[in-house]
Symmetry: C2
Subunit: 353 residues, 2 copies
């Protein structure tokens, strides 16, 4: 059987035919058995590479479903990904499926996380399908992966032809943030976001949020106050960057953090400098569990991460059951207004007192 | 080859011999191929069960290392497990290993998480070894698992004969908590912990912390103030339980929460009722990332979760490389004093004013 759920892939026979050797010879090369000449090994390995043959996927076809779903996420530190995992776990409760999760390696050159290796590892572990959060993996690479395995991508705004996508409407969410800050009278608004490797192009969630920030600042006549602060992925990185920002002479009156973990770091800096929300408003993105804790009380955008995780698994199981037309599920974000944002204290008002 | 890293397991030949059939017949049953009689299938399956034969483990022996390490954790919601994953991820950085993580199912009858299914799923996914956080899995079951696969157990205080253990010294950590609260003058100290399914026996971390709490309360002459509040696993569960506790007439002056997520819920209740640390001290256990956030400032026990995760992977790789004598790594906890604990306000002092 070389065709599972409508997806074709190379069989050991295909490799043998392509290399012009016997099936047993291919099997020997794959097993690393003794008695294989270097020439034979090279010839078979080159056919394996050319045909994109996956011995373990072929084994899956023979064995049938493994009842395992793979999830690739960039990191465990960001509570938003934990919400996605929660939704995914809920979606398989009571089914025969088991989740396995592969964390991506951090990039070596940049702080951007890529995920190629984690995705390969899942595909090689005979999962029936993969949910992935890898905005930076190249589209053509993904399309090839999706030829072999059902794939659902989270937070990826592209036009996929053979995988499903679950995204939040980042343009709407970022506009909610900016409208809220403008309505409170803020003009000097800084945006704390990740490195340029993460906001590269215009289709990652962080690139879209950044783009909306810059456009709306200029449209509102505050183009001269545009200030983009780049930082690493963790709360600590954001704390350091925000503390430096808040010690500049013309510090902003509000900070739009690209996600809640960065917002927690910004709140840490506000607290460490003895400032309050009346002096520096902070707004985040994601609505992590702790955002409504009274000690944190973070204004943020709820993009329904648990529901996104649930939908991703639902779509994946649909694909495994045979659906081949790609589907996009868009989560519409809402604003949660809490204590970390307040009306701007205008200098002019202060002077009049 | 039926012996990898010194561990024996059944081969397909063993099954064939035991069932009194040919190797090809066993292979047919395993593959679910046509042309197998019901009698044959039953006979082979009963030998497979009796010999605990794992076709995929046998395949691993043939193929050699999969360079995959499995980690089983009870849940993603608890930030302490995230720290363990962080340490594990750090430990494999730069190696050829890939982590895959399987979350345990929540128990149906209780809120206790067992992990049998997740552990089986990892073993069946050809991992080279398993790190597991499953205090409730039965010791003899674990010992059988460890016969087939190198295993490191986290937070399990038992005398293992064939797996490694990485534990925090929970007795020392709980004593640090109680000594700190006593030194601040507290006598009415409540303990917020998980259900009896989780504190069962005397070898789980939560059972040990509970035991130390009760013994030290009695030893200090405050036996009549012992109050154990049972709650579910999340911050929300703890919030509800603590809020109810703090609305009783003789509310405690201090709360020892069995882990930091429960402590965050207790802090939420303190905040929601308009109380301060001077009225109700809260102390946790784990020192999660957020514990030192100025808005939280949680006094807690640091049991070095990142280092525990790192050591677990280090020990696992040692086992994979051939070590067969079990090793125990004990992490000695330290106290982190922050703003959530304060000297008791005695009623007698208040009366004197």
């Amino acid at each position: 059987m070389s065709n599972v759920t409508g997806r074709k892939f190379a069989t050991i026979e295909d490799v043998a035919r392509h290399a012009g050797v016997s099936r047993a010879a291919v099997s020997k090369v794959i097993r690393g058995a003794y008695g294989v000449s270097d020439t034979m090994r090279e010839r078979v390995n080159s056919s394996i590479a050319e045909l994109n043959y996956r011995p373990r996927v072929a084994a899956r076809a023979m064995r049938g479903s493994s009842f395992t779903l793979g999830i690739e996420i960039p990191e465990f530190g960001n509570p938003f990904f934990i919400r996605i995992l929660k939704g995914a776990t809920e979606a398989i409760a009571g089914t025969d499926y088991q989740l396995i999760i592969a964390p991506a390696d951090a990039g070596i050159e940049t702080d951007a996380v890529e995920g190629y290796r984690a995705l390969e590892a899942l595909a090689d572990r005979q999962v029936d399908g993969i949910v992935a959060v890898s905005p930076l993996v190249q589209a053509d690479w993904l399309a090839r992966l999706a030829e072999r395995t059902p794939v659902v991508m989270l937070g990826r705004h592209d036009d996929a032809s053979n995988y499903d996508r679950v995204v939040g409407d980042d343009a709407v969410g970022a506009a909610l943030v900016m409208d809220h800050l403008f309505s409170l009278g803020h003009e000097r608004i800084a945006h704390v976001t990740r490195s340029e490797a993460v906001t590269f192009g215009n289709s990652t969630p962080h690139a879209i949020r950044l783009g909306v920030y810059e456009r709306m600042m200029r449209a509102a006549g505050h183009g001269s106050h545009v200030e983009v602060v780049r930082t690493g992925p963790t709360e600590r990185h954001s704390f350091e960057a925000t503390r430096a920002l808040l010690q500049t002479p013309n510090r902003p009156t509000a900070i739009f953090a690209a996600h809640d973990e960065l917002a927690l770091g910004a709140l840490r800096a506000v607290g460490a400098l003895g400032l309050t929300a009346a002096e520096v408003s902070v707004i985040g993105y994601d609505d992590i569990d702790l955002a409504d804790h009274p000690a944190i009380s973070l204004t943020t955008v709820d993009q329904a991460g648990v529901e996104m995780g649930r939908q991703a698994v639902r779509l994946l199981i649909e694909q495994i059951a045979g659906r081949s037309e790609p589907v996009e599920y868009v989560s519409t974000p809402t604003l949660k207004v809490r204590g970390s944002t307040a009306p701007v204290r205008r200098r002019s008002l202060l002077r009049r007192r």
